[in-house]
C-alpha cells in the first residue's frame, strides 16, 4: 500500500511483469551456481593447459572437490534450463519478443537516429537479444559434454572435444561481460529505477 502511495508522487516507475522479475532472479542465482561449480570442474583438468594449466582460486568455487562440483552443476542445470524454457515460452506466448527484443529497426536506429536515448535503447535491445543464443549455447555445449555418446551427432558439429570445452567455458566470460553492459545500459537509459524494476 505504501509503495503505491509513493509511486503516485514520483514520476511513474517502470512496471515489469512478475515473470520477467522471477526470471531475472532465478537466472542470476542459477548462473552463479553453474559458474562456481563449473570452475570447480574446470580445475580438475584446466581447459587451457590441461594438467599443467592454471587453476581458479578456491574462493570462486563451489563444492569441496570435483565430485561436489559435479553434484552442484548437474542439480543447478535443471533450474537454469527450466527457468530459461519458461521464459522462452512466456516471451512467445505474450508476443514480448515482438517489441521488447531487437528487430531491424533497432539496427537502423543505432546507425541513423538523432535521438540519443533511442540509440541507447536500440543498442541495449540488441545486446540482450544476442545473449539469448549464448545462454542456449551454454546448455547445448554442456549437455553434449555430459552425454557425448548419446548426443554424438551434436558433438560432431563442434569438431573436437577441446573446441566443445572451450565454447562451454567461454560462456562464463561472455555472460559476465553481458551482465556489466546490460546493467550499465539499463542505468543509462532508465536510471536505478529501471534496474530495480526488474527485480522488485
Amino acid at each position: 500500500m505504501e509503495e503505491a502511495k509513493k509511486s503516485t508522487k514520483k514520476p511513474k516507475a517502470p512496471k515489469q511483469d512478475l515473470l520477467a522479475k522471477v526470471f531475472h532472479w532465478i537466472n542470476i542465482i542459477s548462473l552463479l551456481i553453474m559458474a562456481s561449480s563449473g570452475l570447480r570442474i574446470y580445475n580438475a583438468n584446466p581447459v587451457f593447459g590441461g594438467r599443467a594449466g592454471q587453476d581458479f582460486p578456491d574462493f570462486l568455487l563451489l563444492g569441496e572437490g570435483l565430485a561436489d562440483g559435479r553434484v552442484w552443476h548437474f542439480a543447478a542445470m535443471w533450474i537454469y534450463a527450466i527457468n530459461l524454457l519458461i521464459y522462452g515460452l512466456y516471451i512467445f506466448i505474450t508476443k514480448r519478443w515482438k517489441n521488447r527484443f531487437a528487430a531491424s529497426n533497432d539496427l537502423k536506429a543505432l546507425q541513423a537516429s538523432a535521438n540519443a536515448k533511442r540509440k541507447i535503447f536500440a543498442g541495449h535491445k540488441i545486446v540482450y537479444t544476442v545473449i539469448i543464443p549464448i545462454l542456449l549455447l551454454a546448455i547445448v555445449s554442456g549437455v553434449v559434454m555430459y552425454k557425448p555418446a548419446q548426443l554424438h551427432w551434436i558433438a560432431s558439429l563442434f569438431g573436437s572435444w577441446q573446441v566443445l570445452r572451450t565454447v562451454h567455458f567461454l560462456t562464463i566470460p561472455i555472460v559476465l561481460g553481458f551482465t556489466f553492459v546490460h546493467s550499465f545500459l539499463a542505468l543509462k537509459f532508465g536510471g536505478i529505477r529501471l534496474v530495480k524494476s526488474m527485480f522488485v
Binding site: L32, S36, I41, Y42, A44, N45, V47, G50, R51, D58, F59, L60, L61, L62, G63, E64, G65, L66, A67, D68, R70, V71, W72, F74, A75, W78, K147, P148, A149, Q150, H152, W161, R165
Partner: protein, 238 residues
Amino acid sequence: MGLILPKQTLSRRKLLQWSSLVGGSFLLNGCSSSWGVSQINQWTEPLNQSIQQLIVSQRSVPEFAANQIEPNSLLINSFNGAPDIDLKTYRLTISGEVNNPIQLSLGEIQALPMTSMIIRHVCVEGWAAIVQWGGIRLTDLIKLAQPKDDVRYVYFKSADGYYESWDLAASLHPQTLLAYQKNGEPLPQDNGAPIRLASPIKLGYKQSKWVTEVILTKQLMTEQGYWEDRGYEWFAGL
C-alpha cells in the same frame, strides 16, 4: 596423540571458515559443506540417473576413423599405481549369480572372437581422447557364464584393489569390452594390462584397469565402486 589430533582438526576447520569469510565468499562456501551436497544429491541423482537410463540405448555408438585417434590425449590415472601381474598365472574369473562360473587364462581370452572399436574415452576430470580398443565383448563372456534370471548388476575387481559396479544393461552393450589392445598395440601396463574395461557409454572411472574378477549380482551393495564410495556418481553414463 588421540587427544591432540581432534583439537588440531577443529582449529584447522575454524581457520578455513574464517578464511572464507575474509574472502567474502562465505555464502557460497557455506553451501559447499557436505550436508548441502548430499541433500541436493539425494534429489538430483535419481532424477539424473532416470534420464540417463531413458536416453541410453543398446545400439552401438558411432565410431571414429583410424586417423582421428589421439594417442597423446589419453592420460594415465590410477588410485594406487600399476600392479605387477604375472601373465602366466593370470586368470580372469566370472562368478556370482551364474550357473556356469568360469576361469580363463590370457590365451583362452585371446582365442575368443576379438572386437575392435574406435571410440571417445571421456574422463570425469573433463578431458577426452579418441582411442582404439580391441578385446572381447563382455556380453559374450557373461553369456558363457549363464547368468541367473534376476541378475541386475556386474561387479569388477582389479589386481590393485580397485572395484567397480555396473548396471547389467551397460555391461551387455555391444561396445563394452574387456580389452587387451590399445591403438593397435598390446595393452600397456599403465593402461590396465592384461585386461581392462573399455566402453563408450561410461565415464573413465567406471572402466576398471587390471580386471581379475567379474561378479554378477542381484543387488547393488553398499560398496559401489572406489570413486562412487567417495562421492562420485554411480551411473556415470555418457
